[in-house]
Symmetry: C2
Subunit: 197 residues, 2 copies
């Protein structure tokens, strides 16, 4: 009787392909965050990831494929990390949610949104991606905040909190806004606590 | 005795120059909002404003001069309009403040911020502009909301509200977010009312 490979097993070749893909996605987000859409091409990302342009195009046929997949991949990693946090008080949850909107992922996503507002090829893909990531973030926020959305106003309280987090992210793009952000987050965490009861 | 021209009088030539300048600034904001930084050059703006490239450069020697002046000019016009609103309830004030972050001025400013994050030439100018416009918007918000900043937390409540407004503006860039925004604004206007007392 021969050895039966279970379907979940992966060959070394598949592992390599997966690692290449992941490397490309991480390089794409870093590149977008640092150089913006205009400075982010498949070639630049391939070089940064240490793979050939051909190998990059095997995984992602177009520039739009690569960058939307990259933002989605990193957003999913971040959501998973957020869900894995130990259960905390609401103040910590508000701070953790706001943290989603600072750092390289937010910078990359912002570059993509702004490019999509002027590039018809990018617009529908980024709109769809943004709606999906937005819904998922809202779900996580509701869960972590133990918010009861059957009560009037609770859904909008959580939405407004995420809008505030997005605005704080934008304020942090040009200058380090950490000190001011901490004070705003502390105060809004208290307002959210009162509102959610 | 000859006619003494009071110093406030303007010659027709000065009036023309002022009108040209204003036309260039308005064309620059519209151009930036529609085409982004990459698509916004002095030539494109001059053509849109119906003046020669040379005339545009007489007013604004560099592209950076033109676009930072444009965003500042329109921001000042908007602030003046906001200050001129009749005294209203806080709910209306919150809605009016949020309105500052939707529409062409916000889109133009967003394009400029994002470009500045990748362009060292633009970065210090936009950072300085943003700080000035941010302080002015905060002052107007405190005044219109009749917020007493000597009370603990009040300053951060107003700051967070403006951060939320900025985040709502960003959510409106790719899709028309008006219906959701109205509900969020209604709920947070109530929370801010409670917080300001």
């Amino acid at each position: 009787m021969g050895v039966v490979t279970p379907p979940t097993d992966r060959t070394p070749k598949q592992d390599r392909s997966r690692a290449t893909r992941r490397g490309l996605l991480e390089a794409a987000v870093a590149c977008l965050a640092e150089h913006g859409w205009a400075g982010s091409t498949v070639s630049v990302v391939a070089e940064r990831a240490g793979v050939s342009r051909g190998a990059a195009q095997h995984h992602f046929p177009t520039r739009e494929d690569l960058f939307t997949a990259a933002v989605e991949y990193v957003a999913e990693e971040r959501s998973a990390a957020l869900r894995a946090l130990p259960v905390q008080g609401r103040t910590d949850v508000v701070a953790a949610l706001v943290d989603l909107y600072t750092g390289p992922l937010f910078r990359a996503a912002l570059q993509l949104w702004v490019a999509a507002s002027n590039e018809p090829q990018l617009h529908p893909r980024v709109t769809e991606l943004e709606a999906r990531v937005g819904r998922e973030t809202h779900r996580i926020a509701v869960e972590l905040l133990a918010a009861d959305e059957t009560k009037p106003g609770v859904r909008e309280t959580v939405q407004g909190l995420l809008d505030m987090a997005r605005g704080l992210g934008l304020a942090n793009v040009l200058t380090d806004d950490t000190a001011r952000r901490r004070r705003v987050v502390a105060q809004w965490a208290a307002l959210v606590e009162d509102a959610l009861g």
